[in-house]
Amino acid sequence: MSILRVEQLSFQYLQANRNALRAVTCEFEPGTVTAIVGANGAGKSTLCFALAGFIPHFFRGKLQGKVYVNGADTQQTPLAQLVTQVGMVFQNPFNQISGAKLTVSEEVAFGLENLGIARAEMETRVARTLQLFDLQHVAQQSPFALSGGQQQRLALASIFIMEPPVMILDEPTAQLDPHGTRQVMKTIQTLAAHGRTIVLVEHKLEWVARLAARVLVLDKGALVADGEPRAILSRANAWGLIETRYARAARAAMERGLIEKKELLPQTLEQAKDWFQIEG
């Protein structure tokens, strides 16, 4: 049974003159990593907001269709209840720091305080989470003193600790350097290894290819492709996406007639080694 179900979802923000989402239907299986890709303005963040219940509880507008989280209709379920089922992490790590806590440990515990979790349980979960996200060595530092990558891992930890089975990650590496990106992506792999259902919006397609088992493509609010990452990403150009360096190299080789034309392009280093070896 799917953990997230979207049925014919359309949404138009107040004062917008077109739909941000148009009749999107899809399902997400428990324990999977699904990437959502698309050009700017394609509706990726809007779909994330709908999956996390921020639409309609935070953003107002014209909504049609349904979103179900673990069988619960997001329109009928209070946001404070939904956050224990679906956690969401945003682009800017700085904005996700509560501002009310002095140390990383306290910051991680903030969500648990709001949920009324007993202190003993909180201590156990905080210690475990800091360890898991490799933040234990900065536990007593100010959240503001961390690097961008560390702050984003802190944001992930702060949601993870509330134990939602689903985590929505809206471009979590958008504002990070390559080192920070690598740190966060490793953390996402850890989340997936812990059985969380991950929905990841990401522009860096190489990471998408490495992490996701499935890719959805949004274009002007509509779901235009849904499938296995390599097959989808091989057509990245069709939706205005920036291909991975391996796909570009393969395409260049094909265009120069060095290699016979193939539909499936390599998206990761491993695939590239394989692809060039076989064809070359």
Partner: protein
């Protein structure tokens, strides 16, 4: 870089419950405004605020911040009120057409020292209270959780905003903006600083609100706390006494306003 006003020192004052510290600050603030004696501010600062600051091991920071904030205000008060206080007649210094008058200087002194006391009392609380403890204490005292959060984050984010302002200032200077020199130059530099600062802050509001909701901020259930607040019967009694004292001071002050010759009012 320290991102908070809180100064973590081992002291008896730090160990007090935040509401006790707030009650002390309230009593000081009420007294300084209600007692009609020109030197009450100086007395409170020297005999109450400074000893507490020394006890809390934060006297350097309290003095530095208080005077950094108050000095420019005091200078402008002396100039404006000293020369232009309405109805003043007792001239003590004449410079061309302008005359410095005793009544104006007195008013400036009282106002500046009152502000000094208010700042000092506030700093005693802010510098010696962990923000999370302050928020929890405010909620315990009946303040809405969101209000306590706003107060605490406003205090917490000030240093962060200062750091951002410095960054913007550096960026503007790198592009040739003149930020030092005459008052006119400084005022002209203020707009390119404040506009990106305010715009940036507003731009972040939505994502901040979403991030809070994602962490069950609006959950309608009893909250717990990572930190434990310590309280005692003695402190509870002290708080009640301080509040009674503050109310009495206000009442006596009101009585004095109604009956000008009340013997209870210091002059």
């Amino acid at each position: 870089m320290n991102q908070s006003f809180f100064l973590d020192r081992a002291s008896g004052w730090h160990a007090l419950h935040p509401l006790t510290k707030l009650a002390v600050a309230l009593a000081i603030a009420v007294t300084v405004f209600c007692v009609r004696w020109n030197y009450i501010s100086v007395a409170l600062f020297v005999f109450i605020i400074l000893p507490i600051a020394v006890w809390a091991k934060i006297w350097r920071e309290v003095l530095r911040t208080t005077f950094t904030v108050i000095l420019p205000l005091a200078i402008s008060l002396v100039l404006v009120q000293g020369f232009f206080y309405p109805g003043a007649t007792d001239v003590i210094w004449q410079i061309g057409p302008f005359s410095l008058k005793r009544e104006g200087l007195e008013f400036a002194f009282v106002t500046a020292t009152r502000l000094m006391v208010i700042a000092g009392a506030g700093l005693l609380v802010v510098y010696a209270t962990h923000p999370a403890d302050l928020a929890r204490a405010l909620v315990q005292a009946g303040a809405p959780y969101s209000l306590a959060y706003i107060i605490v984050t406003a205090i917490q984010l000030l240093p962060e905003m200062q750091a951002r302002a410095d960054g913007i200032l550096n960026a503007q200077q790198a592009r040739g903006l003149e930020t030092t020199g005459s008052l006119r130059v400084r005022i002209a530099a203020f707009v390119p600083l404040i506009a990106p600062l305010v715009y940036g802050a507003l731009e972040n509001v939505q994502e901040r609100a979403l991030a809070l909701d994602a962490r069950a901020f609006r959950a309608a259930r009893p909250k717990t706390s990572w930190r434990e607040l310590r309280d005692s019967q003695a402190q509870r009694v002290a708080r009640v006494l301080l509040i009674i004292f503050s109310i009495l001071v206000v009442l006596v002050s009101l009585q004095a306003a109604l009956w000008q010759n009340s013997p209870l009012v210091l002059r």
